[in-house]
Symmetry: C2
C-alpha cells in the first residue's frame, strides 16, 4: 500500500520538495510557482495518485485533525447515537474520530485520555466516568480543548453539554404521584457522578414537593459491575418487601432490565407497579407495556458537543460554555396514566 511521496514527485520532475508541497497545498500562485510547473506537478500527482501522508502532515503542522471520543461503552445506544452525531459533524470539517470505552472505570479513563493525548488528538469529548478530577484538571491546566457530555462536574468549570437531571427525575416521580402512586421506589446506579446524584436529588425534591416522607429503603443503588444480580435483589426488595407501587429508574438500561424482571415475576405493569425510565431506547414504545420515559434530545446533545469542541479547537476560545438540555416526559402506558 506504499504510495508515492512528495520527494518522489520532486525527484521525478527535477524540482524541490518545497515547490511540490506548495503546489499540492494550492499555494502555488501565492508562492509564485509558474503555471507550467504547477500543471506538471498536478498532472504527475494525479497520474500516480499521490496522497499526502497524514501522519507526517500532522506532525509537521502540530495538528492531527483527530478528535477523541471517550464513553463508558460505545455499544450503549445513547453513546452510540452521540458518537454518530459527533462523527458526522467532525467529518464535515475534516476531522476523524477515535473512540474508546472506559467501562465506567476511572483508571481506564485516565489511561485512555493519556493515550489519546499521545496520539495528538486536537480535542476530546468525554462522557466522564466516576469523578476523574485529576485528569480533567490537567486538561484544563494544559488549556487543552475538551467537552464533557452527558455528565457534569459541578465543582470544576468546564465546557459541558448535559441534562437537567434533577428536574427530569422530579417530573417523573411527580407524574407517578399524580397518577395516584403512594410508594415510589427509585433505582439508580452506584456511580460517583454528579449527574447521577442529581437524579437522586430530583427524586427527593419530588417527594418534598408532594409532602411525602423520604424513605431510604426504597432507594436502591445498583452496582455497575454486577448489574444483573444487584438489580434483581433491588427489585425484589422494592416489590416484595417494600411493596412499592411505582419505580423510577435512573437509566434506560436499568428500566429495561427492571421491566424484564417484573414481567418474569408476573407483576403487572402498571397496575401493580408503575414505572418510568430516565432516558429511552429504541423500541420503548413497542414494549409491553410501552415505557414512559424522561426524554432528552440526544442528537442535539451530540451536535452541541462537537460544535462546542470544534469551536474551542479552531478559535481557541478560553471561556467555558455550559449547555444544559431540558428533559421532557414521554408518557406511555407503563406509568399508569
Amino acid at each position: 500500500m506504499k504510495s508515492i511521496s512528495l520527494k518522489d514527485i520532486a525527484i521525478a520532475l527535477n524540482l524541490s520538495k518545497t515547490t511540490v508541497s506548495y503546489v499540492m497545498n494550492d499555494r502555488g500562485d501565492e508562492k509564485r510557482v509558474s503555471k507550467e510547473t504547477q500543471d506538471r506537478i498536478k498532472a504527475y500527482a494525479e497520474a500516480h495518485s499521490y496522497k499526502p501522508n497524514q501522519l507526517a502532515r500532522s506532525l509537521s503542522l502540530g495538528k492531527s485533525n483527530m478528535i477523541g471520543l471517550i464513553v463508558p461503552n460505545i455499544s450503549d445506544s445513547f453513546f452510540a447515537q452521540i458518537a454518530r452525531r459527533i462523527e458526522k459533524k467532525a467529518e464535515k470539517l475534516g476531522y476523524n474520530v477515535v473512540f474508546s470505552s472506559t467501562g465506567e472505570s476511572p483508571e481506564r479513563e485516565s489511561k485512555i485520555i493519556q493515550s489519546m493525548l499521545d496520539r495528538q488528538v486536537d480535542g476530546l469529548i468525554i462522557v466522564s466516568s466516576e469523578k476523574n478530577h485529576d485528569d480533567i484538571l490537567k486538561l484544563k491546566k494544559g488549556n487543552f480543548p475538551f467537552v464533557i457530555v452527558g455528565r457534569k462536574y459541578t465543582d470544576i468549570e468546564t465546557n459541558v453539554v448535559a441534562l437537567e437531571d434533577k428536574e427530569g427525575v422530579t417530573s417523573a416521580v411527580e407524574l407517578l404521584i399524580d397518577n395516584g402512586r403512594k410508594h415510589i421506589g427509585f433505582i439508580t446506579i452506584s456511580l460517583d457522578l454528579d449527574s447521577i446524584k442529581d437524579r437522586l436529588k430530583g427524586y427527593k425534591e419530588a417527594l418534598k414537593n408532594k409532602d411525602i416522607a423520604y424513605n431510604t429503603n426504597v432507594v436502591k443503588h445498583v452496582t455497575y459491575n454486577d448489574v444483573e444480580a444487584s438489580l434483581k435483589e433491588a427489585m425484589h426488595e422494592l416489590v416484595q418487601q417494600e411493596k412499592v407501587d411505582g419505580i423510577v429508574f435512573a437509566t434506560h438500561y436499568l428500566a429495561e432490565e427492571g421491566l424484564r424482571l417484573l414481567k418474569l415475576n408476573n407483576i403487572n405493569v402498571p397496575e401493580e407497579v408503575a414505572i418510568v425510565s430516565f432516558g429511552k431506547d429504541r423500541g420503548f414504545d413497542l414494549f409491553d407495556p410501552p415505557l414512559t420515559s424522561v426524554d432528552f434530545p440526544i442528537i442535539e446533545m451530540g451536535d452541541a458537543a462537537v460544535d462546542l469542541l470544534l469551536d474551542t479547537i479552531e478559535n481557541r476560545t478560553n471561556n467555558y460554555k455550559n449547555i444544559i438540555m431540558k428533559t421532557k416526559l414521554d408518557i406511555k402506558q407503563s406509568c399508569g396514566s
Copy 2:
C-alpha cells in the same frame, strides 16, 4: 498541552537523542547504555512525565497502531456492538480504533477508506456498503490487511466474517409455514449486497422446500434512503392488498418499524400477521408481542473480525480466511408458535 520531547531530555542531560530513545524503549541494556545513565534518563523522564509523540513514532516506524472501522451507521446496535468488541480486543494489543459511518453510500465508503489509508491505519474492518469492488480490489492488490464483516463479496476472495444469510432466512420462512401460514411476505432493503441477496434466496428456497409458488408481489424492496415511507407502502401492499398472514423482515430495523406499523393499524400480531426478524435488538423480547428472530452471534463476529485482522497485520499472512457464522431461531410469540 505541550509535553517534553526526546530532544529536551537529551539536552537537559547532555546526551544524544539516540541514547534517550534506546532507554525509553527499554533497549538500554541491549544497546550498552550504562546503568547510571539509564537511571538518570528514566528519572528525568518520569519527573517531567515524558510521553512519546505517537505521531512521530508511527511515522518513523511505519506503523500507526490504529485500525479503521467502517460501518454503515455506528448508532445501529449491531454495528455498535461489533465496534465495542473490536475496540476491546484492539486495545489489549495497543491499537486504537478510528471509525466512520458510510450511510450505506459506496461513494462515502470509498472516500472514508482513502482517508483512513491516508492516516496510515494498519488495517481496516469494513462492513461494506453496496458493492465497492474497486476499493476492495485496490486493497487486495496493495496487500493491505482488511476484513469484511457482516457482509460478503461472493465474487472476490477476502478475509470475511459473515453469516449464513440464506439458511437463516430459510429457517425463518419455514417456521412460519410450519406454523400454518400460507401467504408469507418478505420485506428486504434495496441494497446491492450479496448478503441481502442471499436472504432473498433463503426466502425462495424455503418456498421451494415447502412446495409453495414464488410470488413477486409479496416481496418488497424498501429503499434505504426513504425507509419510512417506502416501508409504509410495502407493508400496506402486503397486508391490505396481498393479505399475507406472515412477514419475514430482512433486518432488525425493518422488523421493528414493521411491527410499529402493524400496531398502528391495529393489525393483530401474530393472529392476523405473524412476523419474524432477521437479527434482533435489545428489548425484542419485551415487545408486544415478543419478536421472533433469526439470531446470530454478534459478539463472536466482532471478536473473530479483530482476531483475523490483527493476525493479518502482525503475521502478514496472505491466505484469506472465511468465517461464516450459523444463525439460530429465537422463537417468541410474534411468529405464532
